[in-house]
């Protein structure tokens, strides 16, 4: 057991956890932040992506204890005072989500992309998103949404 202190979505959080506790488990099972999903357990699908100190990270394969002191943003903390982030707006407008299960990870991944790339090309978007599997949309509308979000940022 060890104590981990983090800032999650702007709130200071400190918990005594088992060494083996994964970040996804800390978020979902201990802090009830169930917007972060676990789809594959092998860091392939990306449903569990959150931002750790601004970088998109797969939370299902990261020990919470290893990131003591970090700042974390999850899907619950992305909208600003109820105002959706441009990628959240654009995914709605372009029907870039269906069942919604991969969506939180997809959104967090795109936030990281758009922070580093102002106007990504279709291919750059597709290459970036290869770590996020969506089984519903065929990705086309997600790509369209990312382009629109990029243009609005």
């Amino acid at each position: 057991m060890q104590r981990v202190s983090l800032v999650i979505n702007g709130n200071k959080v400190s918990r005594e956890i088992e060494d083996r506790t994964l970040l996804s488990s800390l978020l979902r099972d201990i802090l009830s932040l169930t917007g972060t999903h676990v789809g594959c357990d092998t860091s392939q699908c990306g449903a569990c992506v959150v931002l750790v100190d601004g970088k998109s990270v797969k939370s299902c394969t990261l020990f919470a204890a290893d990131i003591d002191g970090s700042k974390i943003i999850t899907i619950e903390g992305l909208a600003n005072n109820g105002k959706l982030h441009p990628i959240q707006e654009a995914l709605k407008k372009h029907h870039g989500l269906q069942c919604g299960f991969c969506t939180p990870g997809m959104v967090m991944s795109v936030v990281d992309l758009l922070k580093n790339k102002k106007n990504p090309s279709d291919q750059e978007i597709r290459d970036w998103l290869k770590g996020n599997i969506c089984r519903c949309t065929g990705y086309q509308n997600i790509v369209a949404a990312v382009k629109e979000a990029a243009s609005k940022m």
């Binding site: 169930t34 392939q44 619950e76 029907h95 299960f101 969506t103 597709r126 998103l129």
Partner: protein
């Protein structure tokens, strides 16, 4: 208010998913909850002499460990095959017992042996490792092609044969073949797939010892049917004291239609220990225990005249059912497959034989398209081959054989109400710039790439079907749908449907229909589904049925609301009901300006009186309240159709095959929300591309699934795909008042043959799905070697 039907209305359900407020089964946590972990068979086939739980029972945190013996002691029944198929010789299909926890034998890797319940998930998982199972490993039958020639894996099921089913007129078909000018033959494998909804399956059982009510939260596409099976067949809990809730469900694609062993065990266990029990599948458990799809071996022959007119079709298929017969496993390769082998062609005679076999693999059941992708793959590969062998252009060959007059009674089963197959073919030819394809091929060649083009003109049958008809051919339940429109006193509406939405956007599409019908703003309409305690019994979502059948039930319930509203409005406006028109949410006395809004009528129905005067707004004999229920039994299937054209480029050195252009022109009849329909086509096509190029469930010789994680089972990712070109034609269905046909499965049905025809056109070698880089590269190398030797 502008009409919403036909508009790109943004989805009502999106905001919660975009902000992390979706509520999936795994997100639910109940007070005093325990955790379940399943002990699963590591062997494909074994007999079990003993399950020793003594050590595991003493492990920290263990609450209970239950085995097949406990299940038998409690007289919990087995899972069922829900559709009876009769063999050609008149005998009933052979179905083995399928207890939710194994009773002496296991029949696939992942089969359920015991369940460990503990205070935490880690404790359950750790204790599960201590359960000692004495297996006697038996020789497994793994390959589809081996089943008929192997010793039975289930006692008394000779040749592992579930049924040997025939459809069509064999002697007339043989006669047509004996006179045929040309016979085209093909041998095909339809690869086994794993549906892989992104949300792993999960179940939570919650028993209330005070009311004796049991609730099961589960990742499911049809909660009422799940309750029915778990109640009537598994005998876990009487239906009236049993609530099944399927909350937000993260994709289904068929794999979540059925009540699974885990659902039965979790519900039963929660009742037994009187504490909530939660189980969430790990991804590898999903790979092992979610029903798989497809897995056919087929030989087919087409009899053709020299001018290219098809005169007959023969199909012989072996369909792998896996270790047990799952709920819809027997109808998928028969009635959902056989009638569709004709495609959208006018073929005068045909015969289709299907032998369904058991093997020691995960059960196979309906996966997106269910039978229709297999049928379409067969006929579209065969037709493309015929056109090529006969030197006729692929579009012309198809066009020559299209059904062109409607209604059209096919020689096997279906009576097709509407369609215009040349319209979507011509539109697709234009959009894909077919006439300049050879230029593009030459251009690719100059870059060292092999380019190919492939077609798929498909027909599907959705919205299955009159209950009396389906039950006469073996269905265990009717396939009608229910709806309830419940006005609240303040004028907003709860719409209850028996269908279930797990990505399809019903909350929006169905609300669009109700908004147009009743003239109520869409934001005042809420769709309720997925809870057996809330709405009337319904049949769930699969087979692209929800809009054609469920949407029609909603329309009919709206009609009843309008009828009652007219009576009330007439009374309030001192007119006769037949003098009232209803339009855009208002009841208006003909040729007058006297009117009442539907909101005023709803208010009057719930508050029928006023202060100071004893006077009811309701006419005599009309009950208070404004709520109507409708059950709709479809009069026929609906028949979507379309043309998909795919172009691929193959790297000759690496075998890497890329889809470089894809055109889909579909006829779904009336489209309610084009944005949502496009999304369905995109997703379906990409799953079809997945089947054709990447996806394959592979077992080794001993029956171990060697593609049991996302590291090993390849699904399409964003960077594997081109921008799809999507367009429509429309011939409204005549079998339902909305004119809709269904769009959810079309892409997965149409795409595999379009892609494979393109691959084969590019490399000029016949290969099977999936056309992985390795397979294509080896085929090209082998060909090169053979050509060298021949020279």
């Amino acid at each position: 208010m502008a009409s919403l039907v036909g508009s790109r209305v943004e989805r009502k359900e999106d905001k919660k998913f975009l902000t992390g407020k979706g509520r999936y089964t795994a997100d639910i946590n109940l007070a005093n909850q325990t955790y379940a972990y399943f002990v699963r068979s590591p062997h494909a086939r074994a007999s079990i002499s003993k399950v020793d739980v003594s050590k595991a029972s003493n492990a920290p945190g263990v609450v209970k460990i239950l085995t097949g013996d406990d299940l038998a002691e409690d007289k919990i029944g087995g899972l069922i095959a829900g559709w009876k198929i009769v063999s050609q010789d008149g005998t009933d299909m052979k179905v083995p017992a399928h207890p939710p926890l194994a009773n002496n034998t296991v029949n696939y890797v992942g089969d359920h042996v015991a369940v460990v319940i503990a205070e935490t998930l880690d404790q359950a998982r750790e204790a599960a490792d201590l359960v000692r199972v004495d297996y006697k490993v038996l020789k497994a039958v793994v390959k589809t092609s081996d089943a008929l020639n192997s010793k039975p894996i289930h006692e008394g099921i000779d040749k592992n044969l579930c049924f040997d089913w025939g459809l069509g007129d064999k002697s007339k078909t043989d006669e047509a073949f004996s006179k045929a000018e040309k016979i085209i033959k093909i041998d095909l494998v339809n690869n086994r797939l794993i549906p892989n909804a992104m949300e792993p399956r999960a179940s939570i059982g919650d028993y209330n010892p005070s009311s004796e009510n049991l609730t099961l939260y589960t990742t499911n596409q049809n909660p009422h049917l799940t309750r029915l099976v778990l109640s009537a067949f598994c005998a876990i809990q009487p239906e009236h004291k049993f609530r099944v809730v399927a909350p937000d469900v993260g994709g289904g694609f068929g794999s979540k239609i059925y009540p699974y062993a885990e659902d039965a065990v979790i519900a039963w266990t929660a009742k037994k220990i009187e504490r909530p029990v939660k189980w969430v599948a790990e991804r590898t458990e999903s790979f092992l225990s979610d029903c798989h799809g497809r897995d056919h071996i087929t030989h087919a022959e087409l009899a053709v005249k020299n001018d290219g007119k098809i005169v007959g079709l023969k199909v012989e298929t072996i369909a792998n059912l896996g270790g047990y017969a799952s709920l819809f496993a027997t109808v998928t390769p028969t009635y959902l497959y056989g009638p569709l082998v004709l495609g959208l062609y006018d073929i005068p005679v045909a015969f289709c034989n299907v032998k369904a076999v058991y093997t020691n693999t995960t059960p196979v059941d309906a996966y997106r398209g269910a039978g229709r992708p297999e049928a379409t793959y067969m006929i579209e590969r065969l037709v493309e081959k015929a056109a090529k062998e006969m030197g006729i252009d692929r579009a012309e060959f198809r066009s020559k054989n299209f059904i062109s007059k409607f209604p059209h009674q096919q020689c096997l089963v279906h009576n097709i109400d509407s369609g215009d197959y040349s319209a979507h073919l011509n539109k697709a030819l234009e959009l894909s710039d077919y006439k300049n394809f050879e230029n593009r091929r030459t251009e690719s060649k100059s870059k060292g790439k092999l380019r190919g083009i492939g077609f798929s003109t498909y027909l599907e049958a959705c919205g299955i079907a009159p209950s009396a008809v389906v039950m006469s051919i073996g269905a265990g339940v009717g396939l009608w749908e229910s709806a309830e429109i419940r006005f609240n006193a303040t004028g907003n509406i709860s719409v209850f449907t028996g269908t279930h939405s797990h990505g399809q956007g019903h909350d929006t599409t169905f609300a669009q229909i109700v908004s147009d019908k009743l003239g109520v703003p869409i934001e005042n309409i809420d769709l309720v589904h997925g809870d057996t305690d809330k709405g009337p019994f319904g049949m769930g979502t699969y087979g692209s049925r929800s809009l054609a059948v469920g949407g029609t039930a909603i329309t009919k319930a709206c009609d009843k609301i309008i009828d009652k509203g007219k009576k009330v409005a007439a009374h309030m406006l001192e007119a006769k009901p037949d003098e009232i028109d209803f339009k855009a949410g208002e009841f208006i006395v003909k040729n007058s300006n006297k009117k009442k809004t539907i909101g005023e009528i709803a208010f009057a129905c719930y508050l029928p009186g006023q202060y100071g005067e004893i006077k009811s707004p309701l006419p005599e004999g009309v009950e208070p309240g404004l709520k109507e229920t409708a059950f709709y039994d479809p009069v026929n299937f609906s028949f979507p159709a379309g043309t998909h054209i795919c172009e691929v480029e193959v790297d000759q050195d690496t075998g890497e095959t890329k889809v470089v252009a894809y055109t889909a022109v579909d006829d779904f009849g009336t489209v309610i929300n084009p944005m949502i329909v496009e999304g369905q086509v995109h997703g379906g096509v990409v799953q079809g591309i997945g089947q054709a190029l990447y996806e394959n469930a592979r077992y080794d010789e001993s029956g171990q699934l060697i593609t049991a994680s996302y590291m090993d089972y390849t699904m399409p990712r964003a960077n594997n795909l081109p921008e799809l070109r999507i367009d429509y034609t429309s011939t409204p269905a005549t079998s339902n008042p909305l004119g809709v046909k269904g769009c959810g499965e079309a892409g997965a049905i149409a795409a595999p043959p379009a892609v494979m025809n393109a691959v084969i056109d590019a490399i000029d070698i016949d290969i099977s799905m999936p056309a992985t880089s390795e397979k294509v590269c080896n085929a090209l190398q082998k060909n090169k070697k053979n050509n060298k030797e021949a020279a």
